[in-house]
């Protein structure tokens, strides 16, 4: 995906990015008893990343994320898992949840399901962002990563997709009638 040509899109996109994420977090937080939750919030947040990559190009969006999205997903999975394993310490069954009422801003009920949902949120953002980054890559003018280079990536599809670009042959689209 090339960086967007439209100046307006880029200007608006930078602002919308934050608005979309605020809404995504709102969806995440209200999800315990109302429609919403980690999955749908994560999709919203991933949409903001898609918009950024449309406006600024995939490379810059990856730069903004600073880390491999797979690790974001991994962190989310770890968080969700640890939350669900926590009851084992107290001798309770897997996935048992606990609630506390915090006397902040009136009374807010906070429970371990929220932590679990934050984990789901991160998994969805990470996986979707990874998908977009992999699929959005141009395949014509890419050089393959050197073997000692791709080993440093924990990403499944970075290497194979560009494999054809490594050889001298013309871009694959030209071959296919």
């Amino acid at each position: 995906m090339k960086a967007g040509q439209s100046y307006i899109f880029r200007a608006v996109g930078a602002v919308l990015f934050f608005l979309i994420n605020v809404f995504a977090i709102y969806l995440l937080l209200r999800g315990h008893n109302l429609p919403g939750g980690g999955f749908i919030g994560g999709l919203g947040s991933a949409l903001s990343l898609i918009m950024l990559s449309l406006a600024f190009g995939v490379e810059r969006t990856q730069g903004i994320l600073r880390t491999d999205p797979v690790r974001v997903a991994g962190a989310g999975l770890l968080l969700a898992l640890l939350t669900s394993l926590l009851p084992l310490l107290a001798g309770d069954p897997f996935l048992r949840h606990y609630h506390v009422v915090l006397p902040v801003l009136g009374k807010i009920e906070v429970g371990t399901p929220l932590l679990f949902d934050v984990g789901v949120f991160l998994v969805v953002v990470g996986v979707t962002a990874k998908l977009i980054f992999v699929l959005a890559r141009p395949n014509a003018d890419l050089t393959a990563l050197a073997p000692e280079e791709w080993r440093n990536y924990a990403a499944p599809l970075e290497e194979p997709i560009e494999k054809t670009a490594r050889s001298e042959s013309p871009a694959p689209e030209d071959d296919v009638p």
């Binding site: 699929l135 997709i161 694959p172 296919v176």
Partner: protein, 120 residues
């Protein structure tokens, strides 16, 4: 509603089978997308006749709610289907790049020869 749903599910399954049996990768892909939607709709239909019932949301007053469990099941199934379809897209894309064809018939043509290794 049940008859309409049944006919719709049948149509979706039929269209999905037709598309999956085509040679083109894109049609196969769309076939699988339709197939998973047909199955989800089937499970949704198991929550019973929806006429005159309310959505199963806490605090919404009104008539008896529909059975929420099938909805929870297809939510899970949709997420799983999303992941699998994403994987299928990438597999087909990579097959297209590696094998230089977008036709399953050509891909599995026994006359196709494995290209010689460069270093051999």
């Amino acid at each position: 509603m049940m008859w309409e749903t049944a006919i719709l599910i049948g149509l979706l399954f039929g269209a999905a089978c037709f598309l999956i049996l085509q040679a083109s990768f894109v049609r196969i892909l769309f076939g699988f997308i339709l197939l998973s939607n047909a199955a989800n709709l089937f499970v949704l239909a198991m929550s019973g006749r929806p006429d005159g019932k309310s959505a199963p949301i806490v605090g919404v007053a009104g008539a008896a709610p529909v059975d929420p469990l099938p909805q929870a099941l297809i939510l899970t199934a949709i997420v799983i289907g999303f992941g699998v379809i994403a994987y299928l897209v990438i597999l087909l894309y990579r097959t297209f790049l590696d094998q230089r064809t977008a036709s399953a018939r050509e891909l599995f043509d026994p006359a196709r020869e494995r290209p010689e290794e460069e270093q051999a």
